[in-house]
């Protein structure tokens, strides 16, 4: 009898503790479920988890749940300490990173200077034989983009120095934003394991990956920072926007990524659902062929749009605010700077006013004035024609609606626009081979995995897939000056100057910078969209 009573007491105490614990779990005065699962509906699966293979916007979202980088980013898009506590230039040619102590990977491996050295070896493809690693085909060849970075060394278990042959003022960003993988794990299991069974230091451990279907994560209890306040996370692939929203309305998912702007307004009025948005780096433009004849498969002709007055005229002919309001319902913004508004070093520029009259005047200055009965401008018998390649069904519905609208606006100032819908692969083939017609152009969007404006300003230096209007000598020189200047304030000023000059020189027709829209059940607490490419669930809780 006494034994039974004692057992009852033990159970009562356990129960009281359990109730007490669950009652203690509150966020903003609301009881939360620490063991819950948040299902997030996303439009696509990642191709890879090893960050070296590539870090596009979809992939980044998956990879950054598991892996972390030296430099983290806050909700305002500002760099904050991640796996590095601080970073500073020691001199013009040396950067020093002080690493966070007490961080472990999901398999228990310690994070330290050796980890960073191994990752630098992978990024710059050096010393790989030393580790016995046959590495993957990488998305970004750091050794080619940043050849000035020459070597790196550890100056303590938690301090790493990186040396360069010339100043690299954005090295904190270049190296700092690359997610870091565990050294011992990669050497022991091969780099393929990083892709199949990724092990990082991030707040989430990947526990299952069903390709094209879902990825499941569990909270990493040994996480060094502020952890998520729920236990399990699932990214569920639902390609159709209608399907994602139906799943939210049915209560099967808690959060929806990539809500179409048209649906956002309606969803926001529904009980139990909240809509959130933030600016993002996806920046959509028309790229015009302004390459000199020796830089593409030209047939002996320079690109038709080498005159900056023509490109500027195109910018003035496009009603960007109209696009933002009518097509994106306000979930986008016009931007006259070549740099995304959320990047470090962005400097706001005077908007390209919608001014068809001025556009015509600029075209006339450039020699395009003899409009025939069809209204198309001519110069020396040649019509002003733009053969516009348009990768339909790749960037979303808003993009698909924007291209024909822009074509009509350009026609209104006397440009004959021939739209050629192509699949994205065909567009990539065309720009890779350099077979864009001399009077060609294409609509496309670019984004960035980095925080620094350099990633955008570099676009018109070397000939690349998206560089169809290489900088003239003076802009090249100014760009180089931004790459040489280590003093942050002076560099910001130089970058602002470059943005102003690029704005006037107009290498592209800037269309819009998209906003990312999320819809969530009101059960999801404290979720705030980042201006970066991924979602951050640290500190997020689920209402009980």
């Amino acid at each position: 009898m006494a034994k039974r009573t004692a057992r009852r007491w033990v159970w009562a105490v356990v129960l009281a503790l359990a109730v007490g614990t669950s009652e203690a779990q509150t966020v903003d005065g609301v009881a939360v479920d620490a063991d819950a699962e948040l299902v997030v509906a996303v439009p696509d699966d990642t191709n890879n988890m090893d960050p070296r293979i590539g870090m596009g916007s979809t992939r980044s979202n998956y990879i950054r749940q598991v892996f972390e980088s030296l430099v983290d980013v806050d909700a305002q898009g500002k760099p904050v300490p991640g796996l590095a506590l601080s970073w500073k230039p020691v001199n013009d040619l040396t950067w020093e990173f002080t690493l966070r102590r007490g961080v472990t990977f999901h398999n228990g491996e310690a994070f330290n200077a050796d980890t960073v050295l191994f990752n630098l070896d992978r990024m710059f493809r050096k010393n790989l034989d030393k580790w016995g690693v046959k590495d993957v085909t990488a998305g970004t060849s750091f050794e080619k983009v940043y050849p000035a970075v020459t070597r790196w060394e550890k100056v303590g278990d938690y301090t790493v120095r990186i040396y360069s042959s010339e100043p690299v003022p954005n090295l904190w960003d270049v190296v700092g934003r690359e997610p870091l993988v565990p050294r011992e794990y990669a050497i022991k299991n091969g780099v393929e394991a990083l892709n199949e069974r990724p092990v990082g230091t991030g707040p989430w451990k990947m526990v299952a990956w069903k390709r094209n279907d879902s990825m499941r994560f569990e909270r990493y209890e040994g996480y060094w920072g502020s952890p998520p306040l729920f236990k399990r996370l699932r990214f569920q692939v639902i390609p159709e926007a209608g399907g994602r929203l139906a799943a939210l309305r049915a209560g099967q998912v808690g959060l929806v990524d990539a809500v179409p702007p048209l649906d956002a307004g309606v969803l926001g009025r529904e009980p139990g659902i909240k809509v959130m948005s933030s600016a993002q780096k996806l920046y959509c433009r028309i790229y015009l062929n302004a390459r000199p004849k020796d830089k593409f498969d030209s047939g002996g002709k320079d690109g038709l749009f080498t005159d900056p007055r023509v490109r500027l005229a195109f910018n003035l002919a496009v009603n960007k605010e109209g696009i933002v309001q009518k097509i994106f319902h306000g979930y986008a913004q016009a931007n006259a700077s070549p740099v995304a508004t959320v990047s470090y070093g962005y400097a706001a520029q005077e908007p390209y006013a919608y001014d068809p009259k001025r556009a015509r005047a600029l075209l006339a200055e450039a020699g395009w004035k003899d409009a025939g009965p069809d209204g198309v401008l001519k110069r020396d018998g040649e019509t002003l024609t733009l053969q516009l390649l348009f990768p339909a069904k790749h960037y979303g519905q808003g993009f698909d609606e924007t291209t024909p609208a822009v074509a009509e606006m350009l026609k209104a100032v006397g440009v004959q626009v021939v739209i050629k819908p192509v699949d994205y692969g065909t567009l990539i083939q065309t720009v890779t081979k350099g077979t864009l017609p001399y009077n060609g152009g294409f609509t496309a969007c670019r984004t960035s995995n980095n925080l620094d404006a350099d990633d955008y300003l570099r676009d018109w230096t070397a000939i690349t897939l998206i560089n169809w209007a290489p900088y003239p000598a003076d802009l090249v020189e100014l760009y180089r000056a931004t790459r040489r200047e280590v003093d942050p304030q002076k560099r910001l000023k130089l970058m602002a100057d470059l943005q102003r000059r690029v704005r006037d020189w107009a290498p592209v027709v800037s269309l819009y910078q998209e906003a990312k829209i999320f819809a969530a059940s009101t059960r999801v607490l404290r979720f705030a969209p980042l201006m970066d490419l991924h979602m951050d669930f640290r500190g997020v809780a689920l209402r009980k």
Binding site: N48, K144, R211, N212, G243, G251, T426, I428, I466
Partner: protein, 307 residues
């Protein structure tokens, strides 16, 4: 019979070889995938380096010879997009997701089509026939994605999760996509059975059977349906083949992780190994199903001789 099987198997080998060879060269006409693997700021040199790593800078005949040597072992190379063995990826999507969905839809569309078609034929121009024909017409003309979304709205949203809106893994997940996928073939099969039965029921041997007092059920199922079934078997076999090759629209609407979506993603991404492995599997499925259909002909119609 054994000689028939042997002959068909040899034919099958040639068909599969022809298909994969055609696909090998056709996908390469669309360009190469190197540019997909680098970021937008990649230079031509970087892209050329990636081409080299993928072996795409080798002469085409060398690539084809390597492909022919490896393919019979099931080695179609590594997916350019997913960095995993292409055949493994294809099989992973085929089984269980695609097979489950295809079999469930095929079962629905055949099991329901037979009684519907027979009832329609035996009640020609009466209410049951009109209802069946109108329903068939509706199901055949409804786009799959639209029907799918309607089913989701009704069963997942309005009925608050009575059936799941997406995903796979349990029978509850299977119901809506299987119904949406089965709708059009069900209607088509019902109409085929009806047409076949109407023709057969006019035949002299049916009248004779009735005159001899054979029960109506026996006449319908033992005598008439067996003879009306040949076109139905052909079409059902082909339908199953198409379903097993992936139902891209339905898979997309219901986020079903099947083969159709894998292949459709592989095409714009120029993921040659996955496309080739996928088409190889499709070819095998169609060859096998055609063989089964031929064997079934002989089983249901003794006049058909295999040899």
């Amino acid at each position: 019979m054994p000689s028939f099987l042997l002959r068909r198997l040899i034919h099958g080998v040639f068909v599969v070889w022809g298909v994969v060879t055609a696909v090998f060269f056709l996908v390469r006409l669309t360009g190469d995938p190197s540019a997909f693997l680098v970021d937008q700021s990649a230079t031509r040199e970087e892209i050329a380096h990636t081409r080299h790593l993928l072996g795409l800078d080798r002469p085409l005949y060398q690539q084809y010879a390597a492909f022919l040597l490896a393919a019979p072992r099931g080695d179609f190379g590594t997916s350019i997009r997913d960095k995993r063995p292409a055949m493994g990826l294809v099989l992973e999507h085929l089984w269980p997701a695609t097979v489950e969905l295809a079999l469930a839809a095929a079962l629905l569309s055949t099991v329901l089509a037979v009684p519907l078609g027979i009832i329609s034929a035996t009640h020609k121009d009466r209410a049951a026939d009109h209802v069946s024909r109108i329903a068939s017409l509706l199901l055949q003309s409804m786009p799959g994605f639209w029907l799918g979304l309607l089913l989701i709205l009704l069963f997942a949203v309005e009925l608050r999760g009575f059936l799941p809106a997406f995903g796979s893994g349990t029978w509850r997940h299977l119901v809506l996509p299987a119904v949406a996928l089965a709708a059009a073939p069900l209607a088509q099969n019902a109409r085929l059975v009806r047409a076949g039965m109407l023709e057969v029921l006019q035949q002299d041997y049916v009248r004779t059977a009735r005159a001899k007092g054979v029960p109506e059920r026996g006449i319908l199922y033992r005598h008439a349906f067996k003879n009306a079934a040949i076109p139905f078997i052909t079409v059902s076999g082909l339908s199953l083949g198409f379903m097993l090759s992936g139902a891209i629209i339905i898979e997309t609407v219901f986020a079903w992780p099947g083969l159709g979506r894998l292949i459709v993603q592989a095409v714009p991404g120029r993921d040659f190994p996955v496309i080739q492995a996928g088409v190889f599997v499709f070819a095998l499925i169609f060859v096998a199903l055609n063989l089964v259909v031929d064997l079934l002909y002989a089983a249901v119609d003794p006049r058909v001789r295999l040899g």
